[in-house]
Each structure stands twice: as structure tokens, then as C-alpha cells.
Amino acid sequence: MNKLRLRSLLAFLFAFALIAAACGSDSDTASDDGGSSDDSSSSDDDGSSDDSSGDDGAASGLEGTLRVLIHQNPPGVEFFESFNDDFEAANPGVNVEMAVVKADDIPTVNQTRLNANDIDVTTISVTGFDKAVQPYMSDVDTPFWQQLIEAGLLMDLSDQPYVQNYDEAAIADGSFDGGVYSLGLGRTIYSGVFVNLDLLADVGIDVPTTWDELVSACDAVTDAGFKCMIAGGQDGWPVFVGTYGLLGALYPDQAGMVEGLWTGDLKWNDERGLELFDRYATYADMLDAESAGLTGDSAGPRFAAGDVAFGPMGAWMAGPIDDAASFEWTYIPFPGADDAADNQTFFGKYDMSLAVAAETPVADIAHAYLAAFSDPATYNDFANATNYLPTQPTAELSNTLGAATAPILQQGNFAIGQEQLYVNPKGAGQWAIGREAALWLYNGDFGDPVEAANQVQADLESGLAG
């Protein structure tokens, strides 16, 4: 009987050991289906392959699986799916496994998958290399992209010929400490307003070019029985994005504004700050109540229904609007300043930025993939599919958004906005990020713009004092 018990015990322990072994064998499995090309494949120290094909997109002879991560952006996803098919067709030995995650989850997924060396080409950011720590800032954490570079998890692409297909500003945005770590695939504008030209014509008013004209136009539109403005407010974003134009109109030097807030030369509740908050309150009043129920994605199609005059939204909404609208529209800088000449700049950010994992076992395929994508003709198609402002000098938008924005962009009037430049001091309160205040006034978190401005400044100073 005792022997029987002993055998049972041993059998149990054996079974347990088998289970434990199975649990621990993940790396081998991952290597089989993810790592693909043999690990002996000819990668040298910087991750490049002996087979340096791919510079021109012709990557024949490559074998393996390339794991790609991009963010949820319907036209972008559609383009990448098609591009991946073409890439696989041109490289029969290559299998592209693409994962798509929400933009908000990009930092988290990058952290986990780069830590596990489970990704080869990744969307490292949807806001470029932003929130960089400036010399005048103290006691702040470095942004995640810098953490990943300093951890040695991203590959330096400086020597890759395809990098030179992009313009200097885009390369500079993806650079850190002398290396190039990401390809900025496009810029996007978040400070503009879609304008329903047919509706304005029906009401008998011109496209507003100043703040007063905008307020008057709104009154005229609502008097005529239409809605003035809508934006996506259900998720707390991007309803306030339109006001980044207001912010830019009153603070054209956005980098200087950030420095001023940090050094105390500017305050959210000084004269100009209070003017800004007053206009935020007016903006909140101009937004139709329906905005609270609209998600960021649904606001564009809703604007396209035709009964709304203005859509303060990011330029990324141009595609859905163009697809659904049966009226003439344009996209203008938010007319937030009193002088029309001061409303001639678009503010925005770098959007999708691709990077290569430093320890990818398929560096040759990753470079071939990026080289093929960076081919000017392919890239031009991508920019037009996604409505990104091109970061390759040879590409141009040949659609309605391109026509609407060209007069301003050709003068070089695009600037990185405050959202990308501002770093919150440690200890600052939740209201310190004043650029979002229009939302709080819209939601009713604050009833009075002066009260909101004072709270924002107090929360900021609380962090600066720490």
C-alpha cells in the first residue's frame, strides 16, 4: 500500500515536472514561429544583415517572419495590409505578422513586446519623439521613447539609405543623441477647422478669418437653424483639440510658451491667459450639445451629414469626411486671433513613427520592409491614403485636404504644438495641463473661465514648487 502511495506521489511529481517544463518552453516556441529566419542568419552587431538587399525594395532571397506593430487608424491599417501583401508577394520567403492596437496602448505594448524581443518593426509612437526634457526643466522623468533608446532596445537607423528619403525635420524628430531611431511617416494637423462651404453660402456668410468673425458666423449659422460646431467629446478627447488652434493663435511661439510656464514668465491666469480661457468658454458654448455623445471617430462622419458649419478636428478626419460629405468643404487654421494674419499657421505633431527592435533576429527583412515602404511612390500612396502631411519631400497630397492646406504649408507655416512640447512637472495637479481647459468648461467641471485659469495655474505652480 505504501509503495502504491509512493508511486502515486512520484507520478504526480513527474506530471508536475512535465507541466512546468511545458510552461517554460515558450521561448523555443516563439523562436519557431516568430523568430523565423534561422537565428544564425547573418546579423552583425548593428543588426544589419550580410545580405544587404532591400535598399531598393527588392528583397528576394529573404526568409523568415517579420512581426510588425501598428496603431488603429483605419486607412493606415488598410494601407499596411495591402502593402504587406505586396511585400510578401515580392519576397515569397517572408511572412509578415501584423498586430494592430489602439493608439493609447502603443507605449504599453511596445514596453512589453520590446522587453520580450517579440517585435521586429514597431510603431514606436503616434506623437513622434515628443515631450523631450528641456534644459530649463528639472525633476522630470524622461519620455518612454528615450527610456527605450537608452535601454538599447531600438536600432540606430542612421546608416540605412532609406532614411534619407525623409525630410530633415522628420529625421531630426526621430533622432536622439546622434542616432536616428524612428521614421516619422507623417505629420498631422490638430489645430484646424473643417468648414462646410455650402452651408456658409446658404447662410450668406464668408469663411471666418478672425475670432470675432468666427463668433459672428456661429450666431448666424444657429440663427439660420443649423448647428455651429461639433467635435468628439464622448471619450474626453478630441473635443478640445480644435482649441489648440486658439492656443496657437494667442501663443504663436509654442516652445517659448512652455518655457515661460516653467520659468514663471507666463501664467495661465495672466492677462493673455485669461483672454485665452475666456475664448475657451466661448468655444465651449459654440460646441453643440450633441458633441458629448460623439466619439472621436464618429465626429467626422457626423460633420459630413451637412447640417453643421464647423468641425474643429484633427486633419486625420479628412478621409471620413471626404468619403461621406456631399458638399464643398475646406480646412482652415482655427481663427483664434483677432488679426487674420495671425491665423495662418497650422499646429500639429508627428504621427506614426516606425522603429526597428535592436535585437530583432530578422534585421535584414526589417530593413527591406522599411526600404520598400519608403520608396517614394509607395510612400506617396500612403500619405494620400492616410491624409498625413508628407515627410518625404517628393510626396504631396493630391486630395481635398492637400488642396486646402497647401497655401499655408507651402509658406512653411506648420509648427509642432504645445501638446508635444509641454512636460508636466512632478507633483503638478490634474488641472495643470491648461490646453485642455475648453473640455472642462464644456463638461461643467468649471463654471467660470477665471476660476478654471486660477486652478490651472495653482496646479502647475504646485508642481514647480516641488
Binding site: 502511495r5 515631450k131 535601454a151 455623445g293 512632478k426 467641471d445
Partner: protein
């Protein structure tokens, strides 16, 4: 006698080691996936860990706790989150407990269709947070959602999850999602009560309320205590519904969500602060521990009184 039986089960002498060997796998798992990460979290809370490999980790002492609890307006926001966590716990525990009890009493009656109602009441619990969140997001959509239409008929308006009362709407969803589970535990308890107790009390002329007060309630003590503890601990740890329904919204998040957001760069600062998040989670752990122990002491006293 019991000791003799225990000895006989595994024999004597060296064979006494068998039960300990049998315990080893379970104990190993518990140490590995239970105690280990908890201890690691406590240690990480004294560091500047980012969660990114290759980045050196430095010992920062109590800096994370100091920042979380005392530094600037941020500590005010954290304490507000702590307060909201407690409010959430109290409201969810009390209301969910009450609704679950009433539902259990109703479906424990010999009524037609009671099995259907038992299923209907329990279904929300098994849907999962993502589905629960999606359903309620659609249901509470301002500008045309069903609840908005209902409010409109009553001459009321609300921005629901987009407005300042979003916190209370999440409480509604949390209760809706979990009341069925509370009901099932109560129902199981009710079905263990001997029917002759009710029959005897009825013969003595007890009213419905007296039956509940003097028979059902005392006999439900184990179920009451279980629900009480589960509701308290569950509501203190709940944060995923906030993630799905409101995102990282100012004036809404509870402590569990703060931990997640700080750890994974979701606060808008785009940095990974897992050391700081670990400190926040230790604060949450202490809160759960203190309240859990207090609740446990309360239910233990209650058990002594009724059982």
C-alpha cells in the same frame, strides 16, 4: 483518535514526509505567483523601476511614497482617488448587497419563470468587463442613446459618462454587473435553510417580516459574511470598468486605475513609472488589508453570535 487516523493515512516514520511533499507543488505555485510578485512589488516601490529591461534600477527610499502622498497638488489628486475608492466601496457594497439579497429572495419563491429570472439576473456577471462596458457605453450615449431618450422624456439631461457624474454611472454599471453573483451566493445560502424552521415559525403565527428577520437572516450568516467580504474586496480592486467606460478622466479615477495608468504610461506624461506605481499599489494593498481585516473581524463576531 483523530491523531491516530492522521498517522494511519500516511503510515509512520519517514512516510510522514509524504504530506509535505504533496504540499510542495501547491506551495511552490503559491510562493511563485502569489507571494513572490507581492514581495517584489513591495521592493520595487522603493525604487525608480521603469519596467524596461537594461535600465538600471536605483533605490530611492521613500521618495515614491512621499511623492504619492505628500508632494504638491498631485498628492491631493491621489488622496481624492483614495477617497473615491472608499466611496465606491461603500456604495457598491451596500447597494449591491441589498439588491442581491432582494433578487435572491424573489427568485427563491416558488414562482413561475423563476429559473429564467435567475439566469437573467446572473448573465451580466459572466459577460466580462469589455462587453459590459461596451453595452453601457452604447446605452448611456448622450445625444440619442436609450437612457438619453428616457431622460429627455422626463425633462432631464445628462452627459452620462462624458460628464462630471461619470463616477456614479460607473457605480451603477458595477452593481448591475455583479449583483447577480451576490444573488447566487444568497440563493445558495437560502436553499440550505431547513424548511421545517419556516413551517414551525409559520405555525407560531410569524409574519413574513418575522420569518425573514428571525429565520432567514440568521441562517444566512455564512452567505451574508461571504458577500460582505467579497463585495468590499472586489469593489476596492475594481478599476477595469473605469478604463473601459471613462478612460483616464479627471475627477473620476479610483486608486486601482491610478496604479495602472502610472505603471503603463497612460497618464499623459508618456513615461513608465513602475516604482511609483508599485508604491501606489502598496497604499491600495494596505487599504484593502485594513478594511478586509476589519470586515473579517466584524463577520467573525457575527458568526459567533448567530452560529
Amino acid at each position: 483518535m483523530a491523531a491516530t487516523q492522521q498517522r494511519n493515512l500516511f503510515g509512520g516514520g519517514r512516510q510522514l514526509i509524504y504530506p509535505w511533499l504533496l504540499l510542495l507543488p501547491g506551495l511552490g505555485f503559491y510562493l511563485l505567483i502569489g507571494v513572490g510578485p507581492s514581495l517584489a512589488t513591495a521592493i520595487y516601490s522603493f525604487t525608480d523601476a521603469t519596467g524596461i529591461r537594461n535600465i538600471p534600477i536605483s533605490w530611492v527610499g521613500f521618495d515614491n511614497y512621499d511623492e504619492f502622498l505628500f508632494q504638491g497638488a498631485r498628492s491631493r489628486d491621489n488622496l481624492d482617488a483614495l477617497q473615491r475608492t472608499l466611496i465606491f466601496m461603500v456604495l457598491v457594497t451596500v447597494i449591491q448587497f441589498g439588491i442581491g439579497l432582494v433578487m435572491a429572495l424573489l427568485v427563491n419563491q416558488k414562482l413561475r419563470g423563476r429559473l429564467v429570472f435567475r439566469t437573467l439576473f446572473f448573465v451580466p456577471f459572466i459577460l466580462g468587463v469589455a462587453v459590459q462596458g461596451l453595452m453601457w457605453k452604447l446605452f448611456l450615449r448622450p445625444g440619442g442613446g436609450p437612457m438619453d431618450d428616457l431622460f429627455g422624456l422626463l425633462g432631464m439631461e445628462s452627459q452620462f459618462l462624458a460628464g462630471t457624474n461619470a463616477f456614479y454611472w460607473v457605480i451603477v454599471v458595477q452593481i448591475w454587473a455583479n449583483a447577480g453573483f451576490t444573488m447566487v451566493i444568497f440563493l445558495a445560502g437560502m436553499q440550505t435553510i431547513p424548511t421545517d424552521l419556516f413551517e414551525a415559525a409559520a405555525v407560531d403565527g410569524a409574519s413574513g417580516w418575522q420569518l425573514f428577520k428571525n429565520v432567514t437572516w440568521p441562517q444566512l450568516t455564512p452567505a451574508v459574511n461571504t458577500n460582505f467580504l467579497l463585495n468590499i474586496i472586489g469593489s476596492l480592486q475594481a478599476w477595469m470598468l473605469f478604463l473601459v467606460l471613462t478612460g483616464y478622466k479627471k475627477g473620476v479615477q479610483v486608486l486601482g486605475y491610478v496604479v495602472y495608468a502610472e505603471a503603463f504610461g497612460q497618464t499623459g506624461t508618456a513615461t513608465f513609472r513602475q516604482g511609483y506605481a508599485a508604491a501606489a499599489s502598496i497604499v491600495l494593498f494596505i487599504l484593502v488589508l485594513v478594511l478586509g481585516m476589519a470586515a473579517n473581524a466584524f463577520v467573525t463576531r457575527r458568526e459567533r453570535k448567530y452560529l
